[in-house]
Symmetry: C2
Subunit: 494 residues, 2 copies
């Protein structure tokens, strides 16, 4: 059957001019009818160009639609956590003074800051300016360096990532573009893999930052693939297929599948089999597959992480569509250093990302510091051994404390959150509004900032992320006591 299209006259080339004009005539008739009935339909998306009525009077200078959108963009719950964190950093008495806010929403890893501190104090000067050939080093930090990262850092990073990912995969430094954090790495990949208005599928609940990194400037849409609590929020291929089919039906061009593994915030791991299925899914649909593996080195003792790169190595699968994101904020407690990685098997993407890295390059002194730290074969294993123990301990204690309050957590194998089921504390009917009510109650009653599930696009209201990596065993009782207050308030008001 031939397709009838509005520009038939152009496509057919003969005799279609009249038909190609009459079809839009009919289409416009129905379009107008539709618009008449839906005129007040609002949209929260960033407009490509402003509707005429919204253009401000010419007396004040106009800024871009993006600037207007961002300036009015309300801080989301995770932003509020991050801001409080910047302010609170020096409030050493926040665990003893009940009037002080404690943020448990942003997964800044402070669990092993003492180890970083010790290393820096011992190695700082040597890392930055060397000892023997000072001139060489100052040339290497004050002057221009390749925007996509120093060769030495790429080599050190490859070895480090390989170790963190279980030692089963050898990474090639030439597949790497280094960026000032995983955040610009995700944005850069979005710019490289999809055109504006295209979309990525993303299993939900997902890391709230994805929305900003993918949508704001690259204007790529995210379509959540909702996972359910009854499956411990595990992704299923059937759901993925269904969401893809629906997107296709709506005419959306899906260009990739983006996921974090270990999953952030829930903390479960994708099995080797599941990863293979995802690669096959991406191949069948001819789309990209992007794994955010920034928590690869934050897996609990006894659990096994499998990198997407490992599956490819063992299976000889189509690599051209495969991209990995990494960074040092979570695994190495170095959020302030702003070090991120794009690891891609696609040469076009690598070439483009190298050019774009001019906008997000890592400063050279920081690169020198990190080269030195990652290459320290005594420090790195010790750090990870200690970290794994501390994560496990704090997590277990927090989970036990929550359990005593009747709050269960999703089963997790990695990461820095307890993904807590507080549906029992929610007023009915359960919806996003009720969830945010409870979130505000945590702030007002207990002075605790946690992450509401809705910020992570969780489809079931009442789940909350509690980040434990600012805590030690000592102050877990303080946190539990504060949460108890909220539980009691809820019980008395329900």
């Amino acid at each position: 059957m031939r397709l009838v299209v509005p520009l038939q006259g152009v496509v057919q080339g003969r005799g279609g001019l009249l038909l190609g004009s009459l079809i839009p005539c009919a289409l416009f008739y129905f379009l107008q009818l539709y618009l008449k009935r839906h005129r007040s339909d609002g949209s929260s998306r960033i407009p490509l160009s402003p509707p005429p009525s919204e253009i401000p009077p010419t007396t004040s200078v106009q800024v871009s639609n993006l600037a207007n959108f961002l300036a009015e963009f309300d801080d989301s719950p995770d932003d509020i956590g991050l801001q409080s964190l910047a302010q609170d950093s020096y409030d050493h008495d926040r665990f003893t003074n009940p009037d002080k806010m404690i943020q448990l929403s942003s997964s800044e890893n402070k669990l092993c800051l003492d180890l970083i501190e010790k290393w820096l104090s011992e190695n700082l000067k040597k890392s930055l300016v060397g000892t023997d050939d000072f001139t060489l080093s100052v040339n290497g930090i004050a002057t221009y360096q390749p925007f996509d990262g120093l060769e030495e850092l790429k080599m050190a990073m490859s070895n480090f990532m390989s170790r963190v990912m279980g030692g089963m995969v050898k990474l090639d430094p030439s597949n790497m573009v280094l960026t000032s954090g995983a955040t610009p790495a995700i944005e850069m990949l979005s710019f490289c893999l999809a055109n504006q208005e295209d979309a990525f599928l993303v299993p939900a609940p997902y890391y709230p930052g994805f929305d900003k990194d993918v949508k704001w400037r690259a204007r790529v849409n995210l379509i959540p693939v909702h996972c359910q609590s009854e499956d411990n929020f595990t992704l299923s291929i059937a759901t993925l297929e269904e969401v893809y089919r629906q997107a296709e039906k709506r005419g959306v061009k899906v260009r990739g599948l983006l996921f974090s593994n270990p999953a952030n915030p829930v903390g479960n791991l994708l099995t080797q089999d599941m990863l293979k299925s995802l690669v096959h899914f991406a191949k069948n649909k001819n789309i990209h597959i992007i794994a955010d593996e920034v928590l690869a080195g934050s897996v609990y003792e006894g659990e096994k992480f499998v990198s997407l790169a490992e599956v490819l190595d063992s299976e000889g699968l189509d690599k051209n569509r495969v991209h990995i994101i990494y960074g040092l904020s979570k695994d190495l407690s170095l959020a302030g250093f702003r070090v991120g990685v794009i690891y891609s098997f696609n040469n076009t993407v690598l070439a483009a990302a190298r050019k774009l890295s001019r906008f997000s390059s890592i400063s050279a002194p920081t690169q020198r510091l990190v080269i030195s730290m990652l290459s320290d074969n005594k420090f790195i294993p010790e750090y990870f051994e200690t970290k794994q123990k501390r994560i496990r301990q704090v997590r277990d204690e927090l989970e036990a404390g929550l359990s005593h309050l009747g709050i269960k957590c999703a089963k997790s194998s990695a990461g820095l959150y307890c993904w807590a089921d507080m549906r029992g504390l929610l007023r009915k009917p359960h919806n996003e509004r009720r969830e945010l009510e409870l979130w505000k109650k945590f702030i007002s009653v207990s002075k605790i900032i946690i992450t509401p599930g809705s910020a992570c696009h969780c489809i079931e209201p009442g789940w909350f992320g509690i980040c434990f990596c600012e805590l030690t065993s000592e102050n877990i009782p303080v946190i539990i006591e504060r949460i108890r207050k909220v539980v009691e308030t809820c019980k008395s008001s329900c």
Copy 2:
């Protein structure tokens, strides 16, 4: 007179349905006729979406149009200089070994690297981790900091910029967003001030990086306002008006005027009167005005730099449209540190830029280093005194050497280039091809990389930028000797 529009049915609300359908019918008829005749019209711009015929077969995964464009984007002459610089940094024998390439195209300021080296060796550890309260400092470098820069750095930067700009203007840290270099600062401003397909006017010859920073991702166009050698490449309001008028006639939405002051590459300064005229021009056209002042501290002895901020202060002019770019790569020889500044008087732009700074933030160790360096009231004045002397000396000697070869330079008051008139060495007819022939001759005959005027959109073929900030008095004779070879080759072949 009422407007007849395609969606008349919606706009009028009564009786317009039929008319609103018939009008598009007619429009589509003519659109198809037009498209039939212009199907092969090529364009070098980045396409927003690919024409159907260009979609590759489904066996290989597609990347974005931007990635395809960038991956095939030829390195421009200034890129080649920058790459050679990264490779050449350690070629200490490049001035003695005639087979080694010398890059004189990228304005990386190495004139005072010895002073930076000395400061770092004395102050490094104290700057980064302090002496008394180590814990506080490690918290302040390893952990998350505000993406748009530390408050202390903004304060130090305000004082520093005020000093560099002649001490006549007081800058407010709250008008500042710090970025990982001036490059992302320009891109971020482009995203904030203009929508895609809008344009900025920019006096030419201009800094080649603007093309990448403004066009690549923000998709804002640059319209050159050509300045002539007979006026020593000085901007005139009459030309500006004419170019604006032409753009308006073509339906282009001009959203701003972007210029560097001191001008890069020519090196002339905008007078106070000219700056006032430009602000008035921007006000009349209701557009933004963006001054790139990264060379403010590289003005020659006896010359006076006037910042755009100073003019506003003295005149009480409309500030909402005024934005300044700054960075430490040129003035403080710290290109590798990646420190840039957006200084804006527009609160919407500031709010948006703060949100966007998540993609280009400066790493915290570097911020701590810079705070310490900028606040060193002994070092900074000494550095600038020495630098001013060295710039003047090297520049004068290079200019004199070139003059002996019959090559005159444009009059300049600042900056790190000699803008040299080599029209006499060009084969006829003078055009861009001949200019690039000569540029290649410099590489092949003399192993020198300089910047051809066409890379800076200079309208007169035969002008070249020679950056002198890698040179000392000692090696100027080497450079002149190498250039003499090219001159002789040209004379024998002309």
